[in-house]
Amino acid sequence: MKTILYIIQKEFKQIFRNKGMLPIIFVLPILQLVILSNAATFEVKNIKFGYIDNDHTSTSRALVEKFNASTYFNVLTDFPSEALASAAMLKGEVDVLLEIPNYFERDLQNEKHNALGVTINAIDGAAAGVENVYVSQIVQRFNQNLKVDLMQVSDQQIQPVKIETIPLFWYNETLNYKTFMVPGILVLLVTMITLFLSGMNIVREKEIGTLEQINVTPIKKSQFIIGKLFPFWVIGMGLLTIGLILAKVIFNVPMIGSLPLMYLYTSIYIFVVLGIGLFISNFTETQQQAMFIAWFFTVIFILMSGLFTPIESMPKWAQTITEFNPIKYFVEVMRMVMLKGSNINDILPQLIKTALYAFIMNGLAVWSYRKTN
């Protein structure tokens, strides 16, 4: 026990004496949280909107006016011809093009229906999807108003049956993406820092040769590993605390669930990360190798965690892979507990899977750590 305590003490001394490492541990994560949470947005705003009005009637102008009134669209120009409009889209000057056909108003009154041409720049598929929804919504609303206007005189008794949907966004009523992103990014930085630090730590002793000296001492494997990894567990928990405070102070993210539950889950989760880190350092010879391998896994884990893209929209095989992604569980749990107020029973499946994962990873890591070679 005394040995473990001494190793822990020594590790902390070394961490705090490493002038290059301290800012990496404490300043970068904060910057990451502040910058990423503000930048990583799924809202599509300031859409560059152009139109070709071949009709020039009050109806067509009213439709364009609808777009102008929307906060999502910046109405740019009225293009005189389709060719010019296409050229503008090619240059990237417009994102969405609306073409109002000849005799739009007349046909609408006579035949009760008409077609509009909408062209969307779909280089960014996700944004194009969102833009399409916005356009459809505006056209639909315009359509409803129009129906009322046009049909009022002639056949008043046949009022169209209107079904209105009023969406309610539970757990994030204003669809504030920051509320959604901050817990996720918090997960990201706790994971990255603890994984990189633990992954490089034992390799560093290999590199400078101290591991060889340690290996000829009677110190037990478990003492050494616990002593080496415990400081990073503490740092991980410290980062969570800093992150939660920032989330509350800067982003005012609601924290409905219980804090102790978040800490309980995180404390187990960090064991998984430390286990992976140790496992990596057992199979690498230099810090550089360890760093690259850690990066490889972090990138896969993050992109497949449901942090940026929903897991539900991944192909089936990819969804199966995400079952082995610890970050996925952490993201789920943080969002559930923070935004939804889930209790321990709700997150029990994630908790059990993570604990199992921690057990397996650390088992593998300790098993593969060898004092002789």
Binding site: Y6, K13, G209, Q213, T372
Partner: protein
């Protein structure tokens, strides 16, 4: 018997690092393992300190088998690797305390043993190990290897890259440690240090060439050896190499060590030959063989 090695062999893929090595080191002996870089010295050390497992053969250290009793060995040996491997970002005192703690002891408990060495670095005890000079680092590493009062001390090239004064001091320290009943196995590529050991083993390409006391090894040298000097060293070496009766020609400081392959060698013949090569100030004197000469002869 403090160290007993029998028929140890170790190979890395195609390279045979050690081939059928056997020797014994008596308790309290200062035993030198002398050989050039790549001879297999470090491999042997790593086997004896339980860091590596031999392909064949057995070895015991302080009475414990290196494979089955490795735990006991780790408690009773001190190992100082060739490369400085202490924590550069910890201070002198913290390094020492760290090794004392993981050996389950304290600095105070065994202070007597390291006192002679530690007093020399004590003025710098608050300095980080990385900021020490080479000789200081060496002393600190030795202190750390001694802090748990080992029965056997393994020193892998402890004086490589250390200045001559510190080297001398270091060997004096080893002599004093020997008197405290510590068996010391030391490896070195420097032949002059070999003479300071009780017994030495000459090792090359993973094979032991000879094991004996330094005096006996020198006596084994089969031929009379001559110091040859002249006004032009370079031309002297070339001329001697071209001489048809030469057995060996090695530059040795300001002289060339020369042996002849004739039994009835007369130095005057050589002098005449060298004069014919336009060399002047020629001196040819009989000298005693050194360990280096022996090694070169055996390694031929």
């Amino acid at each position: 018997m403090s160290i007993h090695i029998s028929n140890i062999s170790k190979s890395y893929k195609n390279v045979k690092a050690l081939q059928d090595i056997s020797f014994d080191v008596k308790a309290g002996e200062l035993f030198g393992l002398i050989g050039p870089d790549g001879a297999g010295k470090t491999t042997l050390f790593r086997i004896l300190t339980t860091l590596l497992i031999a392909n064949e053969g057995t070895a015991t250290v302080a009475g414990f088998n290196v494979v089955s009793d490795y735990k006991n060995i780790r408690n009773s040996v001190g190992y100082m690797p060739g490369k400085f491997s202490l924590y550069q970002d910890l201070t002198v005192e913290e390094n020492l305390e760290f090794f004392a703690t993981i050996f389950g002891t304290t600095i105070e408990e065994n202070y007597e043993l390291i006192k002679d060495i530690y007093v020399q670095i004590e003025p710098f005890k608050a300095r980080r190990a990385g900021k020490l000079s080479g000789g200081m680092k060496q002393k600190l590493a030795l202190c750390c290897a001694l802090i748990h009062k080992p029965k056997v001390l393994f020193l892998d090239e402890p004086t490589t890259g250390v200045d001559p004064v510190s080297r001398k001091e270091f060997w004096d320290m080893l002599k004093r440690l020997q008197q405290k009943n510590i068996t010391i196995l030391v490896s070195t590529p420097y032949m002059d240090e070999a003479a300071l050991c009780d017994r030495i083993a000459l090792i090359q390409d993973g094979k032991i060439l000879e094991i004996d006391t330094p005096e006996a090894i020198v006596k084994h040298y089969p031929k009379p050896i001559y110091n040859v000097s002249a006004n032009n060293m370079y031309q002297l070496i070339n001329s001697l190499n071209a001489y048809k009766h030469n057995h060996s020609v090695y530059p040795f400081g300001e002289f060339v060590h020369y042996t002849d392959n004739r039994t009835d060698f007369n130095p005057e013949d050589l002098k005449v030959y060298l004069e014919s090569k336009n060399l002047s100030n020629i001196n040819i004197d009989k000298t005693v063989a050194t360990i280096e000469d022996t090694f070169m002869e055996l390694a031929k």
